[in-house]
Symmetry: D2
Amino acid sequence: MAYRQQLLPMEKVFRDPVHDYIYIQHQVILDLINTSEFQRLRRIKQLGTTSLTFHGAEHSRFGHCLGVYEITRRICDNFERNYPTQAPGDGGWDDHERLVALCAALLHDIGHGPYSHTFEHIFHTDHEALTVQILTSPETEVNQVLQQVSPDFPAQVAAVIQKTYPNPQVVQMISSQIDADRMDYLLRDSYFTGTNYGNFDLTRILRVMKPYQGGITFAMEGMHAVEDYIVSRFQMYMQVYFHPVSRSMEVILDRLLERANDLYQSHAVDAEATPVMLLPFFNNDFTLHDYLRLDDGVLNTYFSHWRDSRDQILADLATRFLDRRPLKSARVDETTQPLIPALQKLIEQAGFDAHYYTDTNDSYDLPYDAYDPKMKKPRTQIELQQKDGSLLELSTVSDLVRAITGKVSGDQRFFFPKEMLSENAESDLFKPIYQEFQQYILNDRLVVPH
Amino acid sequence: MAYRQQLLPMEKVFRDPVHDYIYIQHQVILDLINTSEFQRLRRIKQLGTTSLTFHGAEHSRFGHCLGVYEITRRICDNFERNYPTQAPGDGGWDDHERLVALCAALLHDIGHGPYSHTFEHIFHTDHEALTVQILTSPETEVNQVLQQVSPDFPAQVAAVIQKTYPNPQVVQMISSQIDADRMDYLLRDSYFTGTNYGNFDLTRILRVMKPYQGGITFAMEGMHAVEDYIVSRFQMYMQVYFHPVSRSMEVILDRLLERANDLYQSHAVDAEATPVMLLPFFNNDFTLHDYLRLDDGVLNTYFSHWRDSRDQILADLATRFLDRRPLKSARVDETTQPLIPALQKLIEQAGFDAHYYTDTNDSYDLPYDAYDPKMKKPRTQIELQQKDGSLLELSTVSDLVRAITGKVSGDQRFFFPKEMLSENAESDLFKPIYQEFQQYILNDRLVVPH
Amino acid sequence: MAYRQQLLPMEKVFRDPVHDYIYIQHQVILDLINTSEFQRLRRIKQLGTTSLTFHGAEHSRFGHCLGVYEITRRICDNFERNYPTQAPGDGGWDDHERLVALCAALLHDIGHGPYSHTFEHIFHTDHEALTVQILTSPETEVNQVLQQVSPDFPAQVAAVIQKTYPNPQVVQMISSQIDADRMDYLLRDSYFTGTNYGNFDLTRILRVMKPYQGGITFAMEGMHAVEDYIVSRFQMYMQVYFHPVSRSMEVILDRLLERANDLYQSHAVDAEATPVMLLPFFNNDFTLHDYLRLDDGVLNTYFSHWRDSRDQILADLATRFLDRRPLKSARVDETTQPLIPALQKLIEQAGFDAHYYTDTNDSYDLPYDAYDPKMKKPRTQIELQQKDGSLLELSTVSDLVRAITGKVSGDQRFFFPKEMLSENAESDLFKPIYQEFQQYILNDRLVVPH
Amino acid sequence: MAYRQQLLPMEKVFRDPVHDYIYIQHQVILDLINTSEFQRLRRIKQLGTTSLTFHGAEHSRFGHCLGVYEITRRICDNFERNYPTQAPGDGGWDDHERLVALCAALLHDIGHGPYSHTFEHIFHTDHEALTVQILTSPETEVNQVLQQVSPDFPAQVAAVIQKTYPNPQVVQMISSQIDADRMDYLLRDSYFTGTNYGNFDLTRILRVMKPYQGGITFAMEGMHAVEDYIVSRFQMYMQVYFHPVSRSMEVILDRLLERANDLYQSHAVDAEATPVMLLPFFNNDFTLHDYLRLDDGVLNTYFSHWRDSRDQILADLATRFLDRRPLKSARVDETTQPLIPALQKLIEQAGFDAHYYTDTNDSYDLPYDAYDPKMKKPRTQIELQQKDGSLLELSTVSDLVRAITGKVSGDQRFFFPKEMLSENAESDLFKPIYQEFQQYILNDRLVVPH
C-alpha cells in the first residue's frame, strides 16, 4: 500500500494528561515522532522562564506538538463525518487533506530552539525559517519521512505552516485566531501551571466548528463557547504569560547571552569555558546541524561553566539565572519613561552596570482582532454562522470580545536589581541611594518623587 | 526575633498543580528554597527515563520537594491543633519539632543527582550520604541557612533524614510506609503522567493521622482510606514505575555511561568530547562541588557530543538514548533464565555486542510489610487505633493489604535490541537468526522453542 | 460553657464534591443543620427547572447552604489570622462576629420553597420575608436553636440577611457582588451541570480578600482573579441560568399553577385531586407551618394527580411538565414585539389557548455594577486596594468588567407550542397555519414575513 | 427509511458531568428518552438513602441510564471499528446488534421505583419483572416506540436484560462483572458523592475490551486497568454503599412503610392521610399504571402527612426519616448475635417498641467471582486474552483480585435508637438503662459486658 495511506495495524496511543489519550493511526505520523528532530523537542521547555514562576510548568514542546496533532485529528474526524465535500468548491471537507494537516500540526514548532524568544533576539535566528528548513532540507530525518509520501509533500507541509497553502481550511486549522495550536497550549499551560484561567470547553468548540469556502466557521449556537475561549486566552496572557517575574528572568537571560557574546567578540572569554556548541552562533555562521544540537540543557551547561568565569558580570548573571534571583520591576508609561535615566544613574551609583542590569520591556498582545486590510498582518477574523448560512463576525455579537478587540493588552515595565529595594540596610554604604530610588516607586509604578 | 521563629510578614505561596497552593510561613524555609543547591533540583527530573514513556512526566524534583514540605506542614497543623502534648512522654505533639520536620521534608532529596539510580550504579555515588553532606558541610548555602537556626540544627535535620532522630513522630512523618514523601510523589506522578492510579484521599488520611508515643497512627475509621493509599501505591509501581519501556531506556543509559567509563579508563575517548564535568567521577575522585554541578542537562549535553564519537558503540547508544529508541524485552523466570545465553549468542550473531545491548533487569518492590525484626531493614508497620486506644496492624484488618503484604511484586525481564523482532526483513542477511530468536518468545515471555 | 462558644469535641465534616470537606466546629451550627426546617432543603432543588436541561443539576439547596457556610468560615479564618482588629473602628476583623456570620451564611436561603420564582409569582409568597419569619418565629426549631445563643440572636442573624446589620463586613460576606453565596453557587452549579463556565480561583480570591472600615476589599494583585469571577458569573448566566429550554419549562409550570388556581377559584377542580397542602395558598391564607410542608415532591405529586384531570388544559400542562415537553421560543425585541398578537392568533387557530400556551419572558441580569446612588437598590461596588491603601473601583481597571458593567444582559423570548414548527405534517389539517407561522421566524428571531 | 436505521439529521448531545457529552444518533433512542416512563426516572434517586450520608449524591436514575447507554455506544463503536465479524461464528462483532444493545442499556433500570430495595421488601414488587412488563406491555410509551422497530423488538430488548438473548456479547455488555451498568454507576456515584474511590480508567478499559465467541474478553496488557476497576468497585461498596448511616436510614424507612401497612391492614390509618397512590400496594393489587405513578416525591409526600398521624410510632418514624435522625449501630458476628435479645429488652425498657426501632442488617457483596457451576447464579468470569489468543481468568493473574475473589465482604450490624448512647442524661429516668446498654458496645462492636 502507498505509504500515504498506510495505517497502523493497531492504533497506537500516547497517554496525555490534557487529552487523556493521543491516537496515532498513520505510519507516517509515528515515523515523524520517532525522528531525531522531533525527539529533541523533549529537551526544550514549552514556556521557557515561566517555569521559574509556575514551577509545575516544566513541560516540553514535545507534548504540545502531540496535542496540536490530536486536536487537528479530531477536527478532521468531525469534518469528514459531518461535512464531507460533495463537489469541488462547495465548501465541504476533502479528507485527502487530512495527512498534510496532521503533519503540519505535528511539526509546526519543529524549528524552535532553547529559550527561543531570547536566543533569536541575541543571535538573529528565526524559528519559522528554521521550521521550513527542517521540513525541506534532505539532511533531516523529518524530511526523509515526508519525502516518502511524495517528493512535493515536504513543501506542502511547509506551505501550510507558512499560510501559503491553497486550502484555507487546512491553514486555519493550524493557524488562525482559534486554531489547534492555541487551543492546545491554553489547555496544556493551564494544566501544568496549575491555574485554571486557560480552561475552555474544547469538546463544544470542536462540535460547532464547520468548514466553508472561506476556511472555518462556527455555528452561531456556539458563540458563548468561542467567547469563553477568547476570554480564557486573554486571561492566560494577563496572569501567566506576562508575569513580571518570568519576564525579569528573561531579561537576565538576554543580558547573560549578550555579555557572553560581547566577551567572545572582544576575545575575553575564558578558555576553559569555551561553549563549543555556541561558537557557530557567536560567529554568526551556523548550519542546521549546529542548530539542532542545541537545547535547554546545553545552554544551562554553559551557564554553569560561566558561573566560574573571571568576568564578574558574566559570572553574576549566570548565577542569578541558574539560582533564580529575579530582578524587580515597576510599571512605566509614556509620562514616567523620562524618569528612567535618573533611575539608571542611581543604579550605577549603587555599583551595577546599568546596561546589563536594567531593561524596559513591554509585553503586549492583541487578544483578538477583526479583519483589517490596512494592517501589516491582517488577522483572519472569527466568523459565526447563522441557521440561514449567513456569517457574523464574533465581536459584533459578543460584548466581552468587543471590549478587548483590537486593543493591545499588557504593560511596560522597568526592570532593576532587587538590591535597590533594600530596606533594613542599616550599615550599608548605599543606603541613601536606595532611599532616593525608592521614592520613584509607588503602587507598583514609577512616579515623580515628591 | 530569633531566626528560628521568624515568620514572613505576609505568608508566601507557590502555585502548585497538586496541592493548589504551597504556603511558606518561615523565613528559614524561604531562604532554603532560594539556595543554589535547592534551585538545582529544577534541573533534575523526578522520574528520569519515565518521561520517555509518559511524556507528561517531565516534572523535576523541585516541585516534589515543595510538595513534601506542604504535606508535612499540614500534618503539623493538624497535630498542633488536635493533639498537642500536655506532658512529656504523653504521646502528644510538641510543636517545637515543627521546624526540624519542615526542613527535613523540604531537603530530604537534596542529594539527588541526574538519573540517580543509574548514575550511582556506574559511579558508586550515594545520594543519601550526599544529602547528609550537603546539610552538614559548611561550604553549602543550605548549611549556612541551617546554621543560622543553631549550630547543631544541620545535624538534627540530617538525623531526621537518617532516621536516627529521637522523636519517632518526626521521623515517620518524613519516612515510613505512609509518609509525606510517598504521599506527595504518588499524587504528583499521577498528575503529571496523566494516569489516575496514584490518586487517594489525602485530606482524609491527614484527618485520621494521630501522634502517639511510638510515632504515628491512624484512627480506625480511616482504615479504608489507608488501604486505598497502599493499593494506589502498588498500582503506580505496576503500571508506571515498572514500565518496561522506561526500564529499557535505563538499560541503555546504564550501558552508555559504562561504555564511556570503559573508554576513558582505556584512554580511548575522543579529545573533542572530553566530558569536563564528569572527569572527577571517571577518576573516582570528586568533591561536593563537582557533584552539585551535575544535572540532567549536563549529562545530555555530553551524550550529544558522544553521538559524534568515533566509537561506534558509544555513538550508537547515545543516539538510542537521545532519540528514544528503546530495547524490547520479555519476561524471564527461574525456569527460563538458562535460555538467556543462547539468546545472547543469537544477538551477537546479528552483529550486536551482547554486553552493551542486553540486560536482565528485575523491578521488585515490597508494597507493604508488617514489622519483621528478622529483616535487614525492618519497616515501621502501619498501626490503626481503635476507640479504646488499642492498636491493630493494617494487614490484620484489610484483605486487600494482606494480599500484597510482604510479597515482592514486579517482574524480571530480558532486554534486547528491537531489531531481533524484525518480521518483514525479506532481504535481510540476518533473517534466519531473527526467526530463530523469535521462537523463544511467546505471550511476552521467554519460552523453550518447540 | 456558654452555648455560643461551645465547640464540638471533635470537628465534624461533611464530604462535599465542591469543597472536598465542610468543617463544622460549633455545636450551634450542627444543631441548626439538624433542624426540620434545614433538612427540608434537601427536598428543594437548587436550580428548579434547569435540571430539565442539564440533567446533572439535580442538587438541592441543602448542599449549597453548607457551601456558603464553608466559604464564610474560610473568610473568617483568613480575617482572624491576618487582619484582627486592634482598636474599635480600625477596620480590622472582630472575631466575635464569626458566629452571626456563620449562622446567616447557613440560613440565608432557609425561606426558599419549591420552584420559588414561579411559586411566588402565582401565590404572592416572598422567600425573603419567610426567611426572616423562620429565624424569628418561636415555633421553628431554627429559632429555638438561635434563641439559646441569646434572646436577640435570631434578630441579629435576620439583620445580616436583610442587610441592616451594623457591621458592613459581615453583611458583605453574605451578600454583595462577590459574596460567599454567589461564589458557592457558581462553583456548585458548574460542577453539577458539568459545564466549566462557572469555575474561578476561589482560593486566590479568599487570599486577597481583606476587611476595611467600609466592608470588604480585595488586594490589587488579585484584580485578575476578581475579574475572572465576574466573567464566569456572566457566562453562567448566559449559558446555564438563561437557557431557553429551562425558561420554557418554567413557563409551563407557571401556566400549570395558574390554571389550577383559576379552576379552584371557579370551583372547577376535580374532587379526587384536591391538593390538600396547596389549599391554604389557593385561599391566600397560609401559615408558616403550611409553607414548610411544601417541597418539590409535594408539588410534583399534585401534578401527577392533575394529569388525570377532566380539565384538558390542566391535564395537558401537567403532562408536559412531568414528561418534559418544552415549548419552543424565538428572540423578540422592541421592533418585533408588535408581531406577537398575530402569532398568538395563529396559535389559537391551531387549537391552543394562547393564554396558557404562550409567554413573553425576559431573562435579564446586571452582571456587575458600580455604585450608583440614583438607583433604586444601589449595589456595593467591588473595591481593589493598592499598596498604599487607596481604593480603586473594579471597572476602572478591568476592560472586561467595564464591558459588562451596568449593562443588562440576556434576552427576551416568545414561547409557543412546538407543534407550530411541524414540518412534515402532510396530512395535518393545520399545515397552512404552521407554514404561515414559520415565516415569522428566522435565525432564532421573530421577523416580519416577506 | 426504516425506523430502525433512522439517524438524527444532526447528532444530539446531552451535557453530562461524568462523560462530558452523551451522543444520541438514533431517532429510536431519542424517542425512548422522551417517553413518560423514562422521564419518570428523573424523580427517583439513584442511591436512595445514601444522599442522607453523602449530600452531593442526589442524582437520579435518569442520568445513570443515559450513562450506561453512552458507554455501550462507545463499546459498539470500538467493536465495529476494530473487530467486525467476517463470517458467522468467528467471534467478531455484528453491528446489526447495536440497536438492541443500546436500547437494553438505556432501559435496563426502567422498572425501578422509589427506594426500590425497601419498597420491594415491604410490598413484594420486583423491579426486574416490572422492567420486562414496561418493555412488553402495549400500554406503555416505551413499548410503542420499540414496537415501531419491529413487533418482536420489545421482546428482544427484554431478553438482553433477562440474559436470555442468544448473543453473549450483547448480554455481557449490559450485564456481567464488568459491564456498562457497573462502570457507569461507579464513576457517577463517585462524582456525585465527591469521593474518588470509584474512579478507574474507563478509556483504557474500553480500549482493551474485545468480542469473542464466548462474549467479551480483555487484552492481557489491560490487566491492571481491569484489576483497578475491581478494586475500585470493592472500595465503593466498603466506603459508600455499605455506609452504616445510610443503612440505618433504610431501616427507618423499612419500619415506617411496614408500620403504615400494619395500620392499614388493621384499619387504623387516619382518614386525612389516606395515601391514595399507595392503596393498590397496601391491597396487594396494583396495575402497571399504579406503579408508574410512584416516585420519591410521592412517598415523601405521604411521609409528610404521616408526621401528623395520631399513631405515635408512625408519626415518629416519619419525622425521623424526613428530618434525618439516623439510628446508631454496632457490628455483630456469630458470637455476639445471642446478645441481641438482651439489648432489645433494654431498648423496650427505655420506652421503644423494639420491633419498629431495631434491626439486624447485613450488607454483603461478592466483589468478584470466578465461574463456579455449583453456584445458584454462576457469574461470568473475567477473561484476559493473551497475544496467542488463549484466555486466562483474572484472579489467576492478579494478587489483589484473588484476595477478594469469592469472599463476601461487608458487615452485619445491629441498629438501635441513638438515645441509648446518651451520656450526660443526668436527670434522665432511663440513665441506668442507658449505662447498662453501653457496656455491651466497645470499638464499634457488640461485646459481652464484663
